[in-house]
């Protein structure tokens, strides 16, 4: 299983853990599974359309990814806030 890695505030909503092994062949499948595992997380990373929220960045083993990026069992997926705001 690939590992999703999150930081606050997602970490708190995901049982206080940073690393989460999740099944899935793409980033989208992983994120759907991850949000489904923790009810309070629903909608925090993916919007209702199934898109990664605009100001969230996803990296697969350090490389930028999107919903369709393939993920292998040993991969690490970091979920990080984008550089944005004001």
């Amino acid at each position: 299983m690939a590992t999703i890695r999150v930081r606050e505030p997602l970490k708190k909503l995901a049982g206080g853990e940073s690393d989460h092994p999740v099944e899935g062949a793409t980033v989208a499948e992983l994120l759907r599974g991850f949000e489904g595992e923790y009810a309070q997380l629903s909608g925090w990373i993916l919007d209702e359309r199934g898109h990664i929220r605009r100001h969230i960045n996803v990296f697969v083993n350090g490389e930028p990814g999107d919903e369709d990026t393939a993920v292998g069992p040993d991969d690490r997926v970091d979920i990080l806030p984008a550089i944005s705001g004001g």
């Binding site: 997602l10 309070q40 925090w44 209702e48 359309r49 199934g50 898109h51 929220r53």
Partner: protein
């Protein structure tokens, strides 16, 4: 004691105080996050807040103690798998049912809660109008911002959307119809104005003692309806400008309304550098400026649509408003004189009092 909820671009600020005395800040919550609106429901004592994280989207939170822990409400979303996402929640409003609460937001969304704000669902009938009629967003998005229950009748509700006009239901939200007759959108070519449906309502309030009467600040014009919002008459003569965002009423006087005019749509600041609230006590036949205690020199403030409120139904009427400058003002005598509640806050999005 008045409890004031000031929702800002960088968190929620809560104050306690009495008109004329210093207000004390009792809580700051959601530090750094845009808080769109917050209120305390007097029926339950629960505080509700709508917060739109730029990273994680819009949520509703609730607590009994705004200085303590907050819980995330459930169901604050559009149907999954569609082609739209909830962008922002502009307002929360108490309904007529014992535990009914509404939330209005972008894109033209009315959410309903029947358990005091813990769980939410979409009003599908109004959503279908949005989907089928391709409502047009205003400059701030496609926001459902005004929610006016009918006192004593939980089936009747009127809402307003920028820029999709006024909508009524008389069957508890099962069906909806427009109520736009007489509104003149000056931003459209003359030949298109009568048939236009892209009506940019800025704020709407109902007169509680005469519920068939509503007042509206439009994107160019202040209007009154005496037939439950089916048709509207411009009552803006006598104001220094017909542009502005917020509007408030005195619940004890159905002939009353207050507006805070801004210079024009291309210059959205208080006219002539003077901050003045305009009051009518004759249903819009005449307007009187109320500026005592407010900045009267070099003060170019913008007051947004949710940033003007009253404290319940108290006599004398208490009024409060906040500006994008981070200033918050209050009046304990129905607007005759004003005092400063707070300064140097982040951009004020909304003010609610209880």
């Amino acid at each position: 004691m008045t409890e004031l909820f000031v929702a800002t671009k960088k968190g929620l600020f809560v104050y306690d105080g009495e008109p004329g005395a210093q207000f004390k800040q009792t809580a700051r919550a959601f530090a750094g996050e845009p808080v769109e609106y917050a209120l305390r429901d007097p029926r339950s004592g629960r505080v509700l807040a709508s917060v739109t994280s730029p990273f994680h989207g819009p949520k509703v939170w609730y607590t009994d103690d705004p200085a303590g822990e907050w819980q995330q409400a459930e169901g604050v979303a559009l149907p999954e798998g569609g082609d739209a996402a909830l962008e922002r929640l502009w307002v929360l409003a108490l309904g007529e049912g014992d535990e009914t609460v509404y939330a209005g937001g972008d894109p033209g969304v009315l959410l309903e809660s029947r358990d005091g704000g813990l769980t939410w669902g979409l009003n599908h009938a109004l959503w279908e109008h949005q989907r089928q009629e391709a409502w047009q967003p205003g400059g701030g998005g496609l926001c459902l911002h005004s929610i006016c229950p009918w006192p004593g009748d939980a089936d009747r509700l009127t809402v307003a959307v920028s820029a999709a006009g006024v909508w009524h239901t008389e069957d508890g939200g099962e069906t909806w119809h427009r109520g736009d007759q007489g509104i003149v959108p000056g931003y459209m070519p003359e030949e298109d104005r009568e048939a236009a449906t892209n009506l940019c309502v800025h704020h709407m309030e109902r007169a509680p003692l005469r519920p068939e009467r509503l007042f509206m600040q439009f994107h160019g014009g202040v209007y009154r309806s005496d037939d439950a919002g089916e048709s509207w008459t411009n009552i803006g003569d006598g104001l220094p400008a017909d542009f502005g965002f917020p509007l408030m009423v005195d619940p004890a006087d159905p002939d009353s309304a207050y507006v805070i005019p801004l210079t024009a749509d291309i210059d959205r600041v208080t006219p002539d550098g003077r901050v003045r609230v305009y009051e009518t006590r004759d249903a819009g036949a005449s307007w009187t400026p109320r500026g005592e205690g407010l900045p009267q020199e070099e003060a170019y403030l913008t007051v947004l649509r949710q940033s003007f409120c009253r404290a319940g139904s108290r006599d004398p009427l208490e009024l409060y408003f906040g500006a994008t400058s981070g200033d918050v003002f209050g009046s304990g005598d129905a607007g005759a004189s004003w005092f400063t509640v707070a300064t140097r806050l982040p951009t004020v999005y909304a003010v609610a009092a209880s």
